[in-house]
Symmetry: C2
């Protein structure tokens, strides 16, 4: 962040009065530019014991599998974000039941939420960000090709809770792996790596 | 948003290729400026059946009561945000137990999360954003002077669950009241109205 998005003047990093963190501040118009974590919202769409996964057509993790998920947009609810992302990435319609996982991903300033839901029909097909979309039984999940740690942990909790006969809400943290620390960079497109 | 925060050139609203929502785009350096919802994180700090409330020293809702809460910062977890806000606004140390409520507040592009927790000691005192800090029994809550709808709903769920003998996770939406639609404006300081 180099210039003020309000007036176009150069910005400088400074701790505003009454605060304790450095912010990008504009000395010309006085605007303080706050940067805050972003929400990624996704969905476990289940059909007859199988789970809907999408194979990514975009970086990061091109060719790897993920639950449908993406950046929450302004003016929508978390549930609307989950339904929209599932429709966009898999052309799939789901009925949501409950919030299932929350993962803090502080090293990339993100919070990931996944809802549980049921597919309403089998008329799914890849959206433009997916190479293919398919239903997987637990033993068919391509664990070594799951794109993101929050997706992998959400799937693990799901199958574990299903065996236990009771779905609970789970909260946890995702720490960076050495590989992710080495390769992560900001994406011009709203993608996510965790 | 008028100017590109990366290169300083004027921005225009346009739908980027492959997307379906208008974004602020820079024709000079190609940056797309996404705007996404922000997370507000707070805490129900309980001591011997009483709940810690802060009377606000800042707008909006100067003089009204709230649970300690505020904007989540980059590089922290949701739990760290709840602990930090409780320390900043009430100089209070808490041990968190579980995530208790999530409220979508789409008309102001926010998601509010409240954790349950227990005060670790009684050495609380107002931070600079609070006029006073006090513990309230259920029958003492100043319901007519509770600053935000998400705080009021969180307190209602808390007392209701306590009477039922079981705390559950709650999720819901906060719609604007006519008064809020009329008075809300963007704050230079990171405040919230809901």
């Amino acid at each position: 962040m180099n210039f003020c998005s309000h007036c176009g003047a150069p910005l400088r990093l400074a701790i505003p009065p009454g605060e304790n963190l450095p912010r990008h501040v504009c000395d010309t118009c006085g605007t303080i530019h706050y940067e805050n974590p972003k929400l990624i919202i996704g969905c476990i769409a289940e059909w007859d014991g199988r789970i809907l996964l999408c194979r990514r057509a975009i970086e990061p993790r091109h060719g790897w599998w993920t639950l449908p998920a993406g950046f929450m947009e302004n003016a929508e609810t978390t549930e609307q974000a989950a339904l929209r992302e599932t429709l966009e990435e898999a052309n799939a319609r789901v009925e949501l039941s409950a919030l299932f996982t929350l993962f803090n991903v502080p090293h990339i300033n993100q919070v990931h939420l996944f809802f549980r839901g049921h597919l309403l029909d089998l008329d799914y097909r890849p959206g433009i960000e997916s190479l293919e979309v398919a239903l997987f039984r637990e033993e068919e999940i391509p664990w070594e090709q799951v794109a993101f740690a929050s997706v992998r942990e959400t799937l693990r909790h799901y199958f574990s809770d299903r065996r236990a006969g009771k779905y609970r809400f789970h909260i946890g943290d995702i720490d960076p792996t050495p590989e992710q620390l080495a390769t992560f960079s900001e994406q011009p497109k709203p993608n996510f790596v965790a």
